[in-house]
Amino acid sequence: MKAGAVELGHASKVTQRGVNRGMSILDLFLRIIAIIATLGSAIAMGTTNETLPFFTQFVRFRAKYSDLPTFTFFVVANAIVSAYLVLSLGMSIFHIMRSRAQARLLMYTIFWEVAMMALLTAGASASAAIVYLAHKGNTKTNWFPICQQYDSFCHRTSGSLVGSFIGIIFFILLVLLSALALSRR
């Protein structure tokens, strides 16, 4: 009877370790996809440069991301978040190696992940507001929709928002995984 109970305890410990390892591998996988999404967003927005084919004697009609400070903030925020994700890849691999979850490390991970998610969301939402304005304009404030002239610039900026929002969703999933790992400890 006693030997059977000990064996059962050993088996449940092994499956628990397996589930922990599975969660760490899923964590690594999510991080890699989030890196691709945020880095792609930063690059897509950072390489915008559209010059219209007509120009007057004084003004050259050109649109770049640095013309709007909000887009500059977007590029910087996405760059910071992808740098953080690359650095945290190492920590994620460490979690896979050491199957016993480190509680304090997990707590710091949750804090940094939430902070980075807030930064990413702020940049993405600010750029979304500007892109919406660029598409629709606003009659009350007399803001003209610039997308009607700068078509390719508009397409590029709208597309780069998608990667950022995917990154936000993946960050929420990462926080969920870390909280689960902390509670199963």
Partner: protein
């Protein structure tokens, strides 16, 4: 003779009692120490949960202030032409409408999450309510930051305009409206900071749930 029998029985009993007591005496301090540690962890968790409730109420006040400040904006300029009356209100800009709606959702969530917080105070070792709080708090952080960030972009435009896009800075005309709206955005960011602190608190409470 009866006296001698009773004394013998007494001696035998005391020996047995001593043998029975010894192992109890050996394990009693260990059990008491483990119980004391658990009681201390429960005490710390309870303190964290009370602080969590207080912060939640503070975040509710801040989010309510942001929603009300943005929702009650209405400024009419004292001059008008024959066709237009110059007025500004939050529903002129769809981003501000989104801000009011999102802040209303955040206020409703914070009110609904107070019972969960109270459950965490009553049962300091409970895991499921804290886990639920962390997850939903994170999603609400994303929503609040989205509303605050987008409105901040519009407020920045309203203050500074943009030369390349030919967008005029409307704050120069609608001063009162601008101040109100900027204050609402600041209150929303304060809510975000409080919410982030709440998530870290819940995580640190989860850490010592055993």
């Amino acid at each position: 003779m009866e006296k001698s029998e009773s004394t013998k029985i007494d001696v035998v009993e005391t020996n047995k009692e001593r043998k029975g007591k010894a192992p109890l005496l050996g394990t009693a301090p260990v059990v008491a120490a483990a119980g004391a540690v658990e009681h201390a962890k429960g005490g710390a968790n309870r303190g964290i949960a009370i602080f969590d409730l207080i912060l939640r109420i503070a975040a509710f006040a801040s989010a309510l202030g942001a929603a009300v400040a943005m929702g009650t904006t209405e400024e009419t300029l004292p001059f008008f032409t024959q066709f237009f009356q110059f007025e500004a209100s939050y529903d002129d800009l769809p981003t501000f409408t989104f801000f009011v709606a999102a802040m209303a959702i955040v206020v409703a969530y914070l009110v609904l999450s107070v019972p969960f917080s109270i459950v965490c105070i009553v049962r300091p070792h409970a895991v499921v309510p804290r886990l639920l709080l962390i997850i939903f708090d994170t999603v609400i952080i994303a929503l609040t930051t989205g509303a605050a960030g987008s409105s901040a972009a519009i407020v920045y435009l309203a203050h500074n305009g943009n030369q390349d896009a030919n967008w005029l800075a409307i704050c120069q005309q609608f001063g009162d409206f601008c101040q109100r709206v900027s204050g609402a955005v600041v209150a929303a960011f304060v809510t975000v900071v409080i919410l982030i602190f709440l998530v870290v608190l819940s995580a640190s409470a989860l850490r010592r749930h055993r």
